[in-house]
Amino acid sequence: MWDTKNVLTGSADNSCRLWDCETGKQLALVETNSAVRTCGFDFSGNIIMFSTDKQMGYQCILNYFDLRDPQQIEDNQPYLSLPCNESKITSAVWGPLGEFVIAGHENGEINQYSAKSGEILKVAKEHTKQINDIQSSVDLTMVISASKDCTAKLFDSTNLEHIKTFKTERPVNSAAISPIMDHVVMGGGQEAMEVTTTSTRIGKFEARFFHAAYEEEFGRVKGHFGPINCVAFHPDGKSYSSGGEDGYVRIHYFDPQYFDFELEA
């Protein structure tokens, strides 16, 4: 939540929980019928959303709860519950003003779901394979989607206009937008289960940095020895973190040269 008082977590134990950040006390529990895939607070911090997986006969559902109405949590009655029939939601973030949720689907589609009416406001069909991650820019004006189709794409949050594409040769598991530079970082690699012949040499899996305007890769950071599952910039933009299949979280601080670097233009 924006004031870092509370934390919202969703889990494959079929529940979504609200916690007090300082004390660790569980403040609320919402039980679900299937695993909770993604969750988040809106800009105000009053409304939470989470999506559940299509599992064991249960649909993928996008749920909205208003925290100002405790009855909703107690009765497990979201004020808005949207089933997704076609393709399950794999990742979602709130729009800039809490009016809608931007969700990525297994089939590569990105949809805006209104938090008031539940209708689909905008659709973007740019990716050809599953969306693995969606993250917002720090000002929430843009989102970046990471997809199994080996690209990450930048969209405008409000109208879902496709702005940029960043191409690699490996499925992208996660992408993030730098808060202070025109950079994006991406991490990926084949899922451990799928392929046993990717390079298993130490440190071969890399986080890759692209210039947001030129769509050109300008740097790579080695270190992980398994696919990277999640990347994030520090809010001050001076470092980034990556978590990988190898069980490690790596935090890298940028050299001064990183901030001075410019591609010739």
Binding site: S44, L97, T141, D156, T158, E169, A213, E264
Partner: protein
């Protein structure tokens, strides 16, 4: 009892009656044909025509008097009874001597045909070469109409300039790329910046492609046969129908193409291997083939005049364009294990293993004379491999031996100096097992990979004019299992392909220095361009399912490009035809190299800066657009500020006015 009694009664004849007649009635005509009754006998009934079909006329027979007639007849009998039983002969005589032509009759027409096939052209002696024809042929040729009908004019198929790619102003070589697991085939021109697509087609081939030796044609494979494409637009030039074709080979001159299909062989009509004339599309000859394990089965002489193949104890050499056996017979070479042509001359090298007390030996035979210009005896041989240097200047025979009294296998290289009188042979002894061997093209060095993983070494030898073979340099601890020389010589790439994970070493053998050590992880292939300027390493989808790509390097090992292609399978450089320049012209150009270098460098700089300029312009535009977008987004963001503040409980809208909570209006 009663029945038998009755029968007996019926059978009783009255005494005195005549025997019943068994003759047919007078006017009876039977309805059984001769064919039904005597079919098998009738089949053998001599027919008038038969006799003529079995007769041959032999011309250019020596004219002899009656004293030598008997001897002549014996000679003829000996020669011609090979093809069948001679039932009749006729030696016309005039003025006391035989006329010079005779008639022979065989017991069957097939024998007569055999005689024509095999004895026509037989050289009895210096003055007499038999001409043998079927008697019936005379009739046929006599009755050819006197009216001459002009043959139908075939429309001229203009395929354009088949050497069009050689006229590229920047001398870019082409290469074929198969990707999308075989679904797409593309032809690209090799530009340093990035490959330029020349042509690209879906399902152009069903399996893979091959270039002809001089680069004129691209051959594609299909269920029904192969197709040849060429010219500027890669139009289809020729098609060869060979159901189930799997393998092909071109003659070095590109006049003939050989196709192999395991499906088509029948006892009477050998069709497993077919040799075609490329320009006319005609089937020239078909052959049997037991196994295609050692393709190409037919090996061509460098000038395309001969092609040969080896079968059990036999070496068969054929001539073009007749497609007949040289001297009408195969060579009997007991135990022949392997053979190959010199790439520079019409010389065949072959070897036979030990036979009782005759040692194993390597023989060099000149064609068409069949003179053995060199024979080398080898002792205690386990196996031999023949390695020719690209111009035929040297032959290396790798001999694996088990010396007497030892258990292990030792390897020697027997180096034959082909350009020196009597073809002297020098021996290089190797202490370790050999992994790879390769001659320097156009040069006199060779490289050897030896040892056993993980201790693999590479040694460079120079075959000098003074009769010595020097070890120039050895590098140890190499990660390599293959040697790739530049087609122009001097430079080579040592590669550890496939299981060695794509380790690469770029070597300059003029001073045996390692120019660069690099890696293309899981590389499965290394291909030099025909000029020796560039090397491509690639990871084929056929051997590794991820990271399929081909990388372009300079000959010094500087990486220029990484080209990822979805499910990339194969890259083949288009060969170049031999240079039209004479040696003198080439020398002159090399002398003036500095002058040419300057021009090219300038051109390169211009093109580089043009590329940079293009890139820089592109970036500028992209940045401008992006900035504009961000400005719009920020404008909207700023406009929305009050909404955000309200959401977080800082502002409140009441009484038509925004108020900060906690502040009095």
């Amino acid at each position: 009892m009663r029945d038998t009694d009755n029968m007996e009664a019926e059978m009783e004849y009255d005494d005195g009656e005549e025997e019943p007649s068994f003759s047919d009635p007078e006017d009876f005509v039977d309805d059984i044909s001769d064919q039904e009754l005597l079919g098998d006998v009738l089949r053998d009934k001599p027919q008038e025509a038969d006799g003529i079909d079995s007769v041959v006329v032999v011309d250019n027979v020596p004219q002899v008097g009656p004293d030598r007639l008997e001897k002549l007849k014996n000679v003829i009998q000996k020669i011609f009874s090979k093809f069948g039983k001679i039932t009749n002969d006729f030696y016309p005589v005039a003025d006391g001597k035989t006329k010079g032509y005779i008639f022979l009759e065989y017991s069957a027409p097939s024998h007569a045909q055999e005689a024509v096939k095999n004895a026509d052209g037989y050289k009895l002696d210096k003055q007499h070469t038999f001409r043998v024809n079927l008697f019936t042929d005379f009739d046929k040729y006599m009755s050819i109409s006197d009216e001459w009908e002009a043959p139908e004019k075939q429309p001229f198929k203009d395929f354009g300039n088949l050497r069009h790619w050689m006229e590229d102003s920047d001398c870019r070589d082409q290469y074929s790329v198969i990707y999308d697991s075989g679904e797409r085939t593309g032809i690209f021109a090799n530009d340093v910046k990035e490959p330029i697509e020349v042509e690209e087609r879906a399902r152009w081939t069903e399996t893979y492609v091959r270039w002809s030796p001089k680069g004129t044609y691209l051959a594609t494979f299909h269920q029904r046969g192969i197709a040849l494409w060429g010219g500027e637009k890669f139009k289809q030039i020729q098609r060869f129908s060979h159901q189930g074709v799997q393998l092909i080979d071109f003659s070095p001159c590109e006049r003939y193409v050989v196709t192999f299909s395991p499906l088509m062989d029948t006892k009477d009509d050998p069709q497993a291997i077919i040799i075609w004339d490329v320009l006319t599309g005609q089937k020239k000859r078909g052959f049997h083939c037991e196994s295609s394990a050692h393709w190409p089965i037919f090996k061509w002489s460098p000038d395309g005049k001969f092609f040969a193949r080896m079968t059990q104890d036999t070496l068969s050499i054929y001539e073009t364009p007749s497609m007949g056996l040289l001297d009408k017979k195969s060579l009997k070479i007991n135990g022949i294990k392997d053979f190959s042509w010199s790439p520079g001359d019409n010389i065949i090298a072959f070897w036979v293993p030990e036979d009782k007390d005759i040692p194993a030996r390597v023989t060099l035979m000149q064609l068409p004379s069949r003179n053995e210009i060199r024979v080398r005896n080898l002792f205690n041989v386990v196996d031999c491999k023949l390695h020719w240097q690209k111009n035929g200047d040297y032959l290396c025979v790798k001999v694996d031996r088990t010396p007497k009294g030892t258990q292990g296998v030792v390897t020697n290289f027997e180096i034959f100096r082909m350009r020196e009188k009597q073809v002297p042979v020098d021996v290089v002894e190797m202490k370790e097992g050999i992994i790879a061997f390769a001659w320097e093209p156009n040069g006199s060095k060779f490289a050897v990979l030896h040892g056993e993983s993980p201790r693999i070494n590479v040694s460079f030898y120079h075959v000098k004019n003074n009769g010595k073979i020097d070890l120039i340099k050895m590098f140890d601890k190499q990660q390599a299992n293959s040697i790739f020389w530049s087609p122009q010589g001097q430079f080579l790439v040592l590669a550890g392909l496939r299981s060695m994970n794509g380790a690469l070493a770029f070597v300059d053998t003029s001073d045996c220095t390692m120019m660069n050590i690099a890696e293309h992880y899981m590389a499965s292939d290394v291909e030099w361009d025909p000029t020796g300027r560039y090397v491509v390493t690639s990871v084929s989808w056929w051997s590794h399912k991820v990271d399929n790509a081909f990388w372009l390097w300079t000959f010094q090992g500087r990486l220029l490009q990484k080209n990822n292609k979805e499910r990339f399978c194969q890259l083949l450089w288009r060969p170049r035809p031999p240079s039209l320049l004479t040696q003198e012209q080439i020398k002159l150009i090399k002398k003036d190299l500095k002058k040419y270098s300057k021009i090219f460098e300038q051109k390169d700089r211009l093109s580089q800066s043009k590329a940079s300029k293009e890139l820089v312009d592109k970036r500028r535009t992209m940045m401008e657009d992006y900035r504009k977008y961000r400005e719009r987004a920020m404008d909207m963001y700023n406009e929305q500020r009050p909404l955000r503040l309200e959401l977080r409980g800082v502002f409140v809208f009441s009484g038509g006015v925004w108020t900060i909570i906690g502040e009095k209006n």
